[in-house]
């Protein structure tokens, strides 16, 4: 077995006095598509946000390709890495957000190009070509000069995914990317993610779309009260949940 792409060890995270992650362990191999499910407050989004240091964490470690993310330990003391180093490490992952978070003062194309020119230091024409290629991939090349205010929710999310993936990250993080969408716009976004999965992109997907999780993932992680409650391949897990808690969760989310 090859070295894991992502390795999370004993991850602990608190907001004030509330401990939301109580020791999470998770190993992801390159090419795996993993859905993280669980009820609100179970810690799934927080776990995702720790991976790219949008949240600091107090205990445990996260490694991408063996490289420790966010913190370094010398002489037994754990210190946050310098901001510049963290910025570089964040570019190892791409993230799509529930609220899209496109930059409203830039066109779709400029949104995708920004990281390519500033972080990847690509010349403008190469960045433009790359960005147009990805906008084409998500079916929005004909919308490239539109500002976000002129795009639908589904289009916004597809541009946001193009923006993240154009950076050629080692790992894509999807944080409830369809939760803010009207029901009829969900399918186009899920289709884009499914296509990327088929291309071999490694992904961690936090989602409430059980059908999608079932179809797209190699593995499903069920988070429960800050811990991994159960994990396994979706067919086994959804058919025969081995914990009471998952059975109840699946029943309530009306997976069909």
């Amino acid at each position: 077995m090859s070295a894991p792409l992502l390795e999370i060890r004993d991850l602990h995270k608190s907001f004030g006095s509330v401990e939301v992650l109580k020791g999470v362990d998770c190993t992801v191999q390159a090419g795996e598509v993993i859905s993280i499910i669980g009820s609100s407050g179970s810690g799934k989004t927080t776990m995702l946000r720790c991976v790219n240091m949008l949240e600091d964490f107090e205990g445990g470690s996260i490694r991408i390709d063996g490289e420790e993310i966010g913190y370094l330990t010398d002489g037994g003391r754990r210190r946050r890495k310098p901001e510049r180093e963290i910025a570089r490490q964040r570019a190892l992952t791409g993230m799509a957000f529930q609220q899209f978070n496109l930059f409203p003062h830039m066109t779709a194309l400029e949104n995708v190009m920004l990281g390519l020119t500033l972080v990847k230091k690509m010349p403008a024409d190469a960045a433009r070509a790359t960005a147009e290629g990805w906008l084409d991939r998500v079916g929005l090349l004909n919308r490239k000069d539109h500002r976000p205010s002129k795009l639908s929710g589904g289009q916004l999310q597809r541009v946001a995914i193009a923006r993240a993936i154009a950076m050629s990250p080692r790992l894509m993080l999807f944080d409830e990317v369809t939760s803010a969408l009207d029901p009829e716009l969900v399918a186009e976004v899920l289709q884009v993610i499914t296509d990327l999965a088929r291309d071999g992109m490694t992904m961690l997907i936090v989602t409430h779309e059980m059908r999608f999780a079932f179809d797209v993932s190699n593995r499903v992680i069920f988070m429960n009260q800050g811990r991994i409650g159960e994990e396994g391949d979706p067919k086994t897990m959804f058919a025969n949940p081995s914990t009471e808690r998952l059975a109840e969760f699946l029943k309530n989310s009306r997976f069909s």
């Binding site: 949008l54 901001e83 910025a87 978070n101 920004l114 500033l118 923006r163």
Partner: protein, 219 residues
């Protein structure tokens, strides 16, 4: 001998009036420019500084904003001398207005930056932008648009506040107008003229503001 018409009177007073107008524009421009530069820095401290810096910034902003600008002008001219800082009336006046302007711009900047959704910063971080890049390419353009209307207001306030410098003897438009009136009378006409000139300056600022606002509009 015929008495001169009002136009002849204004014409004969054109140099002092124009000189006063130029001084008013210069004072306002210096105060707005200086106040904006300091104010944006102050806004950054208020929005992103650590606790100690924020506290210091908050103290400065609230103190200055809570003080009448007239008191700042007098203090700048009369009090700074007692600690050995000998400023000319012009320098003292510009300093007072700059300080006043900076506190307002600081508050505008902080407000604008904090209105931008958190997700904007997070999205910028997620693609690997550092703080400086995030600020320059993502936050500043949005803050500019959000803060512009309030900034235009403040700039116009600065022009009006510049009249207070007449009290410490700065020969700006109001003081020049009063000097002309003391020689030529016709106070109504000359005050109307001064009023029209102040309006012209602020109208120009307002036009400039709408021009920039159109340029940075996001839809």
């Amino acid at each position: 001998m015929e008495s001169p018409t009002i136009l002849e009177l204004i014409w004969s007073a054109r140099w002092p009036i124009l000189y006063g107008l130029g001084t008013t524009v210069l004072i306002s421009a210096l105060a707005i420019a200086g106040g904006t530069v300091i104010g944006v820095g102050l806004g950054l401290v208020l929005a992103y500084g650590n606790l100690a810096w924020r506290f210091a910034g908050r103290l400065y902003t609230d103190f200055v904003r809570g003080t009448p600008v007239f008191v700042l002008v007098l203090a700048s001219y009369y009090i700074l001398t007692t600690i050995g800082l000998d400023l000319s009336p012009f320098q003292a006046g510009v300093l007072a207005l700059t300080v006043f302007c900076s506190s307002h711009v600081g508050e505008i900047t902080r407000g604008a930056l904090q209105t931008i959704p958190r997700g904007q910063t997070e999205a910028a971080k997620a693609i690997g932008l550092g703080f400086g890049q995030t600020f320059r390419y993502v936050l500043a353009p949005q803050a500019l648009r959000l803060g512009l209307p309030a900034w235009i207001n403040t700039a116009a306030e600065m022009v009006k506040a510049s009249t207070l410098l007449s009290v410490i003897g700065v020969a700006e438009l109001l003081l020049r107008t009063q000097e002309v009136i003391s020689r030529a009378f016709h106070s109504l006409e000359f005050y109307l003229l001064a009023g029209a000139l102040y309006f012209a300056i602020n109208y120009a600022i307002e036009r400039f503001g709408s021009y920039v606002e159109r340029r940075v509009a996001t839809d």
